[in-house]
């Protein structure tokens, strides 16, 4: 659920998040917002601080009295102090505006994973091919191959965008978002090794190079 009073941001966030596989609800009336949030029990609340009627801190406190649903505070106030207040009130995370959308997605994912760990198994499956990021390995026809941190990230990124071209820049940014600050050469080396490992497992040609554009997983 998105609790945000700016209509444009609300709408665009909805579009953005739905496109990334989340269902969104964005209430427009803030008078009974607290009971509304509590009664509709969303999987996660994105909460703005500057709101009409009640401010976000108040809403956060009231929700925490009754529920521990995952809650991310989104605000343009960005001092340590604001972060501290939000965390003390029981928010699971704190994102400052104007957020990098990729970072926002990553935060949402982390908070959701933490909250619903049991119910959601973190595996990417496609037929006999299974990627297991938590073990840093993939399985094919029951045989498991271990991968390095960089390799598993590259594989995951390509898998998530299966069927479409991923540029080298995009791949690098994906890796950087996980604190793996690889450069161009390293990416090439990692790519070669990953392909070799896939080949050895009997998966040759799943990653194709499109000259001047990037890579694609088929």
């Amino acid at each position: 659920m998105i609790v945000e009073d700016n209509k444009k941001i609300r709408d665009e966030l909805c579009v953005f998040l739905s496109r990334n596989g989340y269902e969104c609800e964005a209430p427009e009336d803030f008078k009974d917002i607290i009971s509304h949030i509590l009664s509709s029990t969303p999987h996660l609340v994105l909460l703005d601080i500057n709101l009409p009627v009640f401010d976000g801190y108040h809403i956060c406190r009231e929700i925490r009295k009754k529920s521990d649903m995952p809650l991310i505070v989104v605000t343009s106030r960005d001092t340590e102090f604001d972060e501290l207040v939000a965390m003390n009130l029981g928010a699971d995370d704190f994102v400052t505006k104007p957020y990098n959308t990729q970072i926002l997605l990553a935060r949402i994912e982390t908070v959701l994973r933490r909250a619903y760990r049991e119910s959601k198994q973190e595996r990417l499956v496609c037929g006999d091919f299974i990627i297991n990021p938590s073990k840093s390995a993939f399985e094919y026809l029951g045989r498991s191959t271990e991968l390095t941190r960089n390799e598993i990230k590259i594989l995951t990124c390509l898998f998530e965008k299966k069927g479409s071209i991923v540029s080298r820049d995009e791949l690098m940014r994906y890796l950087w978002d996980s604190e793996l600050f690889v450069d161009d050469n390293t990416l090439t080396v990692n790519m070669t090794r990953l392909r070799r490992k896939l080949e050895e497992a009997g998966l040759s040609g799943v990653i194709e190079t499109r000259r001047g554009q990037g890579y694609i997983m088929l």
Partner: protein, 339 residues
Amino acid sequence: MKITDFLGGKVTYIISHLTVMAVTVAMLVALNPAGGKIFSIYIGILYIIAAIVPLFAEYRRKREYYNLLVSGFERLDRKNLIAEIIPEPDFFEGKLLYGILKASNKACLEEINKYKELQEEYREYIEMWVHEIKTPISSSKLIAQNRRDEATDSISEELDSIESYIEQALFYARSNSVEKDYIIKEISLEKPVYAAIKRNSKQLIGAGISVSAENLNVSVYSDSKWLEFILDQLIINSVKYAREKDAFIRIEAKELSNSRMLIVSDNGIGIPENELPRIFDKGFTGTNGRLRGKSTGMGLYICRKLCEKMGISISAESELGSGTAVSIVFPRSSMTDIL
């Protein structure tokens, strides 16, 4: 206060008394009284004593007071507060000047406070403005993100640079504020360094600069957000003045005997030796800034101000043509002692 200086101011008093005494003695001698010459000289001496005693009494009193004033003034850090520390004198001219000094001091403080308030108001306004403008920037970014093509990607980049200029304005306002609006606590260097790198990932990757950030699992005392801003500025500079090929930025931590050091080094175009001492000055752009035409001369200045406020030091080394290294030193013992 020397006796000669004091007597110098009493020349007319001394001359007039000496003259009157001389005339009196001369008249007495001419009248030739019963006691003869001895009596006349006796009268003269009495006269001199009567004239000198109050003079010396006054000298002692004033010397005591003015010496107190001078030594107090010399020891005072904020010279404009002198009227607050001196006692009220017990002689007339002193009282007059004391009253004037007090009033003038008060007016001066009022004036200072007026400007402090104005500045504080201005800072508050900037802070509010920055938060307001972040909302339209956020929505613009989302709009661009949801309709990705060449044009909106390029708009996204421009929005990023608008954001970084706005951030600079915010921190400039904060760096000048008298209020303490930061929290110094133990933080790991990893968090702000990674955040600053990620924030600039688009530019770094676009410029083909390789980044290494190692051995950063080190804790220091600082405000995470402020440190992130400083690192942001340093990385932006490294990108701006990077060499064309094989450019790198290295961010590393070093342990010193009683401090910890964070070094951001690059192999960029470097800074001329004669300009190096001035790079942290306000508005200094240097040859590089002028040649590349993108410098405001504010980034490093704000960094220095923020460092000063947090009690950490920042310095730079550079060699023209081969690179620059900026080091931030976090004192350890002194900080941990305070906390």
